[in-house]
């Protein structure tokens, strides 16, 4: 391209020189001027080509850069793919020893378990155990634990000592938190706070509280021991059942006795009625006999007026 342009320049220059020479010699020639004009046009054409060339060149450069970038990207991807692959290969997987026991379970088991433990593992919404205040969340819990401590138990006695120190510590923080609450939520009266947030001041305890332990089966067991009974083999429910059964039996016996009594009474009454009837019958019998002894016709006419004729006929 450079040579081509050089040639074009040379031609323009030569034409110009010859034209100037001819003019200097006072012998201008139209042909020389035409040559110059041609050379100039050729140069202009050459320059346009140069422009085109430059544009093409720039485009090629751009494309090359693009290719290089894409190449790099491809290499990158391939590289990271390789690295990832290596990483995956090298990831230590949990290898269960072949002899360790495996416990199959079903989704239903899992969900059931999740449902059962959620009450004791997931704090209710809004209950943070005072964690956001970055203070020991023991203030309320101390009160709860100490408040429920019943006399005669050494359960909380050991904790009581540090409790005093622990309750004193979080107080400034708690006051700060209340101040911030007051500034963000203007003037919430104490008695309304609970209505707005039922979890206010509530504490989530992730283990059985003393209350629960005290009201459980072991405590019941202990009470039996204290009452001097051997809990082994003793079942209050069964006892209850036995008592109920006994009562039932007693009631049934009473009922039976009552029924028997009634039966006897009834029988006696029947007997009495029967005797009365028999007496009546005997009396009637006696009467009839007596009447039979009397004149028959008279008696008969008393009872059956119609039959009388037939009987009379028969006789």
């Amino acid at each position: 391209m450079d040579k081509q342009l050089d040639a074009l320049f040379g031609r323009v220059e030569a034409a110009l020189t010859t034209l100037i020479d001819s003019i200097a010699k006072y012998n201008p020639s139209e042909k020389l001027a035409d040559d110059l004009a041609h050379a100039d046009r050729a140069l202009a054409q050459g320059l346009r080509e140069l422009e085109q060339h430059q544009a093409n060149h720039a485009r090629i450069q751009q494309l090359r850069a693009e290719t290089a970038a894409l190449d790099a990207q491809t290499k990158d991807v391939a590289g990271s793919l390789w690295a990832t692959r290596k990483e995956v290969d090298n990831t230590p997987t949990t290898t269960y020893p072949a002899d360790s026991p495996r416990y199959p379970f079903t989704i239903a088991d899992l969900l059931g378990f999740a449902r059962r433990i959620s009450r004791n593992t997931l704090p209710p919404p809004g209950v943070t155990n005072g964690l956001d205040l970055s203070a020991p969340p023991t203030q309320q819990s101390e009160v709860t634990m100490d408040g429920t401590a019943t006399p005669g138990a050494s359960f909380t006695s050991g904790v009581g000592t540090p409790g005093g120190g622990a309750t004193a510590a979080p107080t400034p923080d708690a006051m700060v938190s209340q101040a911030t609450v007051a500034s963000s939520v203007p003037e919430m009266p104490m008695e309304l706070r609970h209505a707005v947030n039922p979890g206010e001041g509530a504490v989530f305890i992730p283990w059985p509280t003393e209350d629960k332990i005290r009201s459980g089966a072991l405590a019941e067991y202990q009470r039996l021991v204290e009452r001097g009974m051997d809990p082994k083999g003793y079942d209050p429910e069964e006892e209850e059942q036995r008592k109920r059964d006994e009562e039932q039996a007693k009631k049934e016996a009473e009922e039976r006795a009552r029924l028997e009594h009634e039966e006897a009474e009834r029988r006696m009454q029947e007997e009495r009625a029967r005797m009365a009837r028999e007496r009546e019958r005997a009396r009637q019998e006696a009467e009839r006999r007596g009447s039979v002894a009397e004149p028959v016709g008279q008696k008969k006419s008393q009872f059956s007026f119609i039959d009388m004729d037939d009987e009379d006929d028969d006789e």
């Binding site: 155990n129 059985p208 809990p231």
Partner: protein, 128 residues
């Protein structure tokens, strides 16, 4: 309060969860399964541990053997009956350590366990 030593000893097999069968003798109206489940979960309460330590139970060899026996709760089919699984299993694990059984008599440790436990109960949920 409770005297778990009279409930069973390490020589016993773990009770069957489905011990609704009437053949098993009951203890104060409860099955051994119920009593041991309640006891092992009570161990999750640091104050209860302190109470046991103050009764000198944690240094009693037969009680230690009983704690070892109670480890069956960390395996199926018993595991799923724990309703306080995290603290219960942690306590059970810690109680196998001689050092912990001695140290839990300290009120400071009880306090630290309670603070940590209540913090953790809220925090693990926050992360999730």
């Amino acid at each position: 309060m409770s005297e778990p030593m009279s409930v069973g000893s390490s020589a016993l097999e773990p009770p069957m969860p489905s011990s609704a069968s009437s053949t098993e003798p009951k203890h104060g109206g409860f099955t051994r399964f119920e009593l041991e489940l309640e006891f092992v979960q009570s161990l999750a309460n640091p104050q209860y541990l302190n109470h046991l330590a103050s009764r000198k139970l944690l240094t009693n060899p037969s009680f230690v053997a009983y704690l070892d026996y109670l480890q069956y709760w960390s395996r199926p089919p018993y595991l799923k009956y724990l309703t306080y699984p995290g603290p219960t299993l942690k306590s059970l694990q810690l109680l196998q350590e001689e050092r912990f059984r001695q140290d839990i008599i300290s009120p400071d440790l009880v306090q630290a366990l309670m603070t940590e436990g209540m913090k953790a109960a809220v925090e693990w949920h926050k992360e999730g």
